[in-house]
């Protein structure tokens, strides 16, 4: 161990302290960074606590997040989503685990509506988790799909992360978007298959609707009208993006507006519903933003004390490609513990990419591989931002341990798809070649 590693050790020790002491993550990140800057840099550097927090406060790309949270709160409070899940439950009738599979599908749709990964997890955590728990779903089968499915927002276009990767790596954003679609769909399929098989083998994990509660076909048709409002919202959000009416951030406002309208049509829009939705949105968004404020400070000090150089040094002179990919994946897992996704891309892509290109790999392929890995990083215990966000919105009976346990099988699936992409690059490269060959 050389002196170079000391700052990193202090920072990691700070995180460990938070893990043991139950100190809120937001303040653990901020507090560790201040201690590390006192030890290694001195008081002069401390104003960064204010400048970097301010930078995160004014990060406009995050505006979509509270809008989606607001949409979810209004839909939940006005009963729109409750009706939807009721219908899903009736429709899928005897299918065990059906609601969890439906949730994965909705996650994939939200991923296509939003460019930031947080939105899916938080939105579905608000909408789907309480309902599934109420319908006697096992915690692990209810939580896991929301986490894994929600994180798809990073991969399924439009994805802010892919755009930033494209800008740094200087590769076509259109090709990246196209390349990420098939891996995204494979993940969706495997998540559903996993839930289906687990619940088929052990129906108590995701019990189907009891026979006596099932309604005849005609009644089901009547319930189908609960689909109208959610579908309308989805169509208006996706439609406003793809018809070129709105930017992804504005589309989030369209979704929020659609939710308010739906509540009104459902005749459940009241002053109380709006008020509660506003309060809850403020609280959840505040929880997330204060974690990001802490992360902004932590990141700064990590790089001030030479973190970036260390990553570069590790890769120096390596020729064995498996060793290189191994180090890349390990590095991303470690950094995923405390960097937000955009910073992680900004920092590591310039270090990794020249090596990847030098080895003769396609940067579009690497971009998708990279994002598949990054979505995992935010789900790996003990430090995973997405895990924290879900804890923040979940009902109180859900503990951090429940969340950790539920994500493990899905992490295995993600690892499997990661290896698939690593060994069969055509999974990524086929679609962009088809799409852009036409020009």
């Amino acid at each position: 161990m050389t002196f170079e590693w000391l700052p990193i050790i202090v920072l990691v020790a700070g995180l460990m302290f938070g893990l043991i002491s139950g100190f809120p993550m937001a303040f653990t990140l901020g507090g560790s960074s201040i201690v590390a800057s006192w030890i290694f840099i001195g008081f002069d550097s401390l104003p960064y606590v204010a400048t970097n927090t301010f930078g995160m406060m004014t990060n406009v790309i995050l505006i979509a997040m509270p809008l989606f949270i607001f949409m979810a709160c209004v839909l939940e409070k006005s009963g729109v989503t409750h009706d939807l899940y009721n219908f899903m439950h009736q429709l899928l009738g005897s299918l065990n685990g059906g609601l969890a599979m439906g949730t994965i599908a909705i996650c994939a749709i939200i991923a296509a509506m939003s460019g930031v990964s947080t939105t899916g997890v938080v939105t579905m955590g608000i909408i789907a988790l309480p309902i599934m728990l109420k319908m006697k779903y096992d915690k692990s089968i209810a939580i896991g799909p929301i986490l894994a499915g929600g994180a798809l927002g990073l991969l399924i276009p439009p994805s802010v992360s892919l755009v930033i990767y494209g800008m740094i790596a200087r590769v076509s954003i259109g090709r990246l978007f196209a390349g990420a679609i098939i891996p995204g769909l494979i993940l969706v399929f495997l998540y559903m298959a996993y839930v289906g098989i687990r619940c088929y083998l052990n129906p108590s994990l995701g019990p189907a609707l009891p026979k006596e509660d099932r309604v005849p076909f005609i009644e089901k048709l009547k319930l189908a009208k609960s689909l109208v409002l959610p579908v309308l919202i989805i169509v208006s959000v996706l439609g406003s993006i793809f018809a070129g009416l709105a930017s992804p951030t504005e589309a989030a406002a369209v979704g929020a507006g659609g939710a308010v309208l739906s509540a009104a049509i459902n005749r459940r829009l009241s002053w109380d519903v709006l008020k509660d939705a506003c309060f809850r949105t403020m609280s959840i968004n505040g929880m997330i933003m204060w974690i990001l404020f802490g992360a902004a400070c932590f990141t700064s000090i990590f790089f001030r004390t030479g973190g970036q150089g260390l990553i570069g040094d590790m890769m120096l002179g390596l020729e064995n490609k498996w060793l290189i990919f191994g180090i890349i994946i390990a590095t991303l897992i470690v950094l995923g513990c405390f960097l937000d996704e955009i910073t992680q891309i900004m920092i590591t892509v310039p270090v990794f990419l020249p090596i990847i290109v030098h080895l003769g790999y396609d940067p579009v392929w690497f971009g998708v591989l990279f994002m598949t890995q990054v979505q995992m990083d935010y789900l790996t215990p003990p430090f995973g931002f997405t895990l924290f966000y879900l804890k923040g919105v979940a009902p109180p009976e859900v503990s951090m341990a429940d969340i950790y346990k539920s994500i493990l099988p899905f992490l295995c699936i993600q690892l499997f798809v990661l290896l698939l992409i690593l060994f069969f690059p055509q999974i990524v490269l086929w679609l962009p070649e088809e799409v852009f060959a036409l020009r």
């Binding site: 809120p24 653990t28 201690v35 927090t53 406009v60 609280s283 505040g286 933003m289």
Partner: protein, 168 residues
């Protein structure tokens, strides 16, 4: 003492509830922008920038409310194994780190805010160029509110650690 603590609680409660309405304004303004652009082909230069301001207030000023309602996420797997009084003792220590962090944020946030007012700083790069001091002042204000709420919680925690009884 109890009245002071209750007063601090209500300040946190109301500051959070007050800014919570901003989400409706963010939504409304963005919808107006979409409508102006597509119905009247008249996009504005100010709506997106205004939403940046609103989002900043909305995010940073929620801190004290989130603390009051104990919504700041923690990893509690090990923490929950301890008895409530031991937990309170641990919290007494960790609150020191909290005060250090938020205190630093308050101090330098104030320095930045004073600079913004003195130099009459505006948002940049931006065609609209609205003043940035309201946002810069929001940061130390939010930190101050958090410090107050932290102090109230700290007093309760110390009291519980020492006496084993909750203060109402």
């Amino acid at each position: 003492m109890r009245r002071v603590l209750a007063f601090i609680d209500s300040v946190s409660e109301w500051s959070g509830k007050l800014v919570s309405w901003l989400i409706m304004f963010i939504m409304g303004f963005l919808l107006i922008e979409v409508a102006l652009r597509f119905l009247f082909n008249a996009p504005t230069i100010w709506i997106h920038e205004l939403c940046m301001h609103l989002f900043g207030f909305f995010s940073v000023l929620a801190g004290a409310y989130v603390l009051l309602h104990k919504q700041h996420v923690k990893i509690d797997i090990i923490y929950l194994q301890f008895s409530p009084r031991v937990r309170a003792a641990i919290d007494t220590v960790t609150y020191m780190i909290f005060f250090m962090y938020i205190g630093t944020m308050f101090y330098y946030g104030t320095v930045l805010a004073i600079r913004a007012v003195e130099l009459n700083q505006t948002v940049s790069p931006s065609p609209w160029g609205s003043p940035i001091w309201p946002l810069k002042i929001a940061l130390p204000v939010a930190a101050l509110l958090l410090l107050l709420q932290g102090l109230a919680d700290f007093i309760r925690t110390v009291n519980f650690a020492v006496t084993g009884k909750e203060m109402s």
